[in-house]
């Protein structure tokens, strides 16, 4: 039972982790994209429809990634090239994504989807207690863990990662050093879009293989909260995503056990927990100041 619960938590945490990891890279480059929810739902509808039409969940995932990245380009063009307000543009992206996905998905409602199977390493996945957890989950779970390690390594152990962080910390001096701020930010935004698309694809191909309107149900916003919650550190995003998953699954178990707590309070717990942790983390000013990209959300127009 314990292993099954942990796997359920992993399923709930994986889309949050992937989307948050993408947004982390975007924000590290100094851009705040509030459109995660919109890119995620576009990924979900694309993933579902492509997998349904081709019968291949992998093609679905691939399409979700591509569409997520393309959709984020819209945000990139407006905020980077036309220097529009990032908050408003991000919100518009979410709105557009929710509407557009509903239009695209209209003919796919009520159809059973294609589910991505699990990886089953022979013998190992039959180990007691941890076998299925470590060796018998869906492939995207492993991708999400690899992504966390990869982003961590990229940001802190590569020259390109250092460049990206310098753009986020001070775009003016980065520009003065000859770094192509705009180009780097375009790439970061597309990476974020690809991750959000993948997270959406996960929802529609692994979490619940079906398409319903608005099925991201606020998960994009949670992913945004996780990035701040984690004070822009990949390892902490991982911890936060699993903590959030544990709280939301835990409240359902509390109910099934018949605990006499109002279910609305239990439903509110993940949000209250997020606020409390945000406060605890951000009150330590020195710690957050070190990690916060100083140019986050600031418009940048290269002077010549």
């Amino acid at each position: 039972m314990f292993e099954a619960i942990v796997i359920t938590i992993a399923t709930a945490a994986t889309p949050l982790l992937i989307a948050a990891m993408g947004e982390l890279v975007v924000e590290r480059s100094g851009v705040l994209n509030l459109g995660v929810e919109g890119m995620m739902i576009m990924g979900a509808v694309t993933g579902f429809s492509v997998a349904y039409m081709t019968g291949s969940p992998w093609l679905g995932v691939l399409a979700a990634i591509v569409v997520g990245a393309l959709f984020s380009l819209l945000f990139g063009f407006l905020t980077l090239t036309l220097v529009t307000n990032q908050v408003a543009t991000g919100l518009a992206l979410t709105l557009l994504g929710l509407g557009l996905s509903g239009m695209i998905g209209e003919s796919f409602v009520g159809l059973p989807g294609v589910k991505m199977g699990t990886v089953n390493v022979p013998y190992l996945s039959e180990l007691p207690y941890v076998g299925r957890l470590l060796f018998g989950q869906d492939p995207i779970f492993y991708i999400s863990i690899a992504l966390t390690i990869g982003v961590s390594w990229f940001l802190f152990y590569t020259k390109a990662g250092l460049t990206l962080r310098s753009v986020g910390d001070n775009h003016a001096s980065a520009h003065a050093l000859g770094i192509r701020v705009i180009a780097i930010r375009y790439m970061a935004i597309m990476f974020g879009g690809a991750c959000a698309g993948l997270a959406g694809g996960y929802l529609a191909l692994v979490y619940v293989p079906q398409w319903v309107e608005g099925m991201s149900a606020g998960r994009g916003w949670i992913a945004l909260a996780l990035v701040v919650f984690a004070s822009w550190r990949p390892g902490r995003v991982l911890a936060g995503a699993y903590l959030f998953g544990a709280v939301s699954i835990g409240q359902l178990h509390a109910q099934a056990l018949g605990w006499p707590i109002p279910s609305q309070l239990l439903s509110a717990l993940p949000y209250l927990a997020t606020i409390i942790v945000l406060v605890l983390i951000s009150r330590n000013k020195r710690l957050t100041m070190v990690n916060t990209p100083a140019s986050l959300g600031q418009p940048f127009v290269p002077d010549r």
Partner: protein, 356 residues
């Protein structure tokens, strides 16, 4: 020039609705609270619209508005319909109750039908509802016959009387087979959130239930049950596609017959105010084929269904105790419809505390 004028007239005809439509056509309008693509509650009402359209063909014109929020928007939507030439307006969600009655007072010539409500403040307002709990009793019988552990999981939406009634009926049906049967309830606090419903199903299964039923609208629980290799019941619509080896049966809300009957009465001028609470007998509640169960269980289910359908048996027939063990209905006593419609307590055997 003449051609130009003709074109102009044609475009004017497009711009002015109703100008060209025949007077003898009856117009029926529907307001849904969710998207018709929810594959659940609103979807089924829309199927009812399509049935009516098919039945009446050219004699009927239909229109609908989906995803209408309850509140100020509902009133506007209903008024818009009232002004756009509708002869009968079906408001299909409880939350449209006050708005429907308000507009009905101002448009006495138009008939209004409100689903699941109880207010009929004007002679042109009728109410209708379905006894879904009859189907849940049959589900309970099936669940207790099949379950090895004697525990079922119930994913519930909101603690309104209709949902409480369904949980009780399910428990009563189960106890008629296995008096010690238990039900674990999880309140999802949503009608529709596939992810959350899936999580709730997983939590219940991890807690040891071996049958899942739901009073939420998405197909996610049945898909989870199918992955985990246990059985489940569908909701509102036949969900067999989502669990060919999982779905035992499903309670189908079939509004078609009612809509056809009421629109027909508007056409021949015999429409009258009424309060209908139809069940299996009236054809409002239909069970999907009984599948994935042994023949003896199937037979028992069919017999139970037949008894309810013929009116021979009412699921709410005593002796029934409340959850705390005190008596509610004495032996042979049948609960009154009016009381059931405001039901807010559990019967004995529910492993949950009702949110108050």
């Amino acid at each position: 020039m003449k051609k130009y004028l003709l074109a102009l007239a044609a475009s004017a005809a497009i711009l002015l609705p109703g100008a060209a439509s025949a007077q003898d056509k009856t117009k029926a309008c529907f307001i849904y609270v969710g998207p018709i693509g929810d594959f659940g509650y609103s979807y089924q009402h829309h199927q009812g619209l399509l049935d009516a359209q098919k039945h009446f063909g050219d004699k009927l014109e239909t229109a609908y508005l989906e995803s209408v929020p309850e509140g100020a928007d509902a009133e506007r939507a209903i008024e818009r319909f009232a002004r756009s030439g509708c002869d009968i307006i079906f408001a299909t969600s409880f939350g449209f109750m006050d708005a429907t009655n308000k507009i009905a007072g101002r448009f006495p010539d138009i008939k209004f039908e409100h689903a699941t409500g109880y207010k009929r403040e004007h002679p042109n307002v009728a109410t209708y509802n379905s006894k879904f709990h009859e189907g849940r009793y049959v589900q309970g019988v099936i669940a207790a016959s099949l379950s090895e552990k004697g525990v079922a999981g119930y994913i519930a939406s909101f603690p309104i009387p209709e949902v409480v009634m369904g949980i009780n009926a399910f428990v009563l049906g189960a106890q008629s087979v296995n008096p010690d049967f238990k039900v674990k309830v999880v309140w999802a606090n949503t009608w529709f959130d596939a992810g959350k419903e899936a999580d709730a199903a997983k939590a219940l299964i991890d807690q040891g239930v071996d049958i899942i039923t739901q009073h939420t609208d998405s197909t996610a629980p049945i898909q989870v049950a199918s992955e985990r290799g246990i059985k489940a019941f569908g909701q509102a619509t036949d969900m067999i596609k989502f669990g060919p080896e999982t779905q035992l049966t499903s309670i189908i809300d079939d509004w078609g017959p009612y809509y056809i009957e009421r629109i027909g009465k508007v056409m021949d001028g015999t429409w009258e105010q009424q309060d209908v609470w139809g069940g299996m007998k009236e054809g409002h509640v239909v069970m999907a084929p009984y599948t994935n169960m042994p023949d003896d269980v199937k037979k028992l289910a069919e017999e139970t269904e037949a008894k309810i359908k013929s009116g021979e048996f009412n699921p709410y027939t005593g002796p029934i105790n409340k959850q705390d063990g005190t008596q509610w209905l004495a032996d042979g006593e049948v609960a009154e419809d009016g009381f059931l419609l405001g039901l807010n307590f559990y019967v004995e055997g529910v492993d949950d505390q009702l949110p108050q």
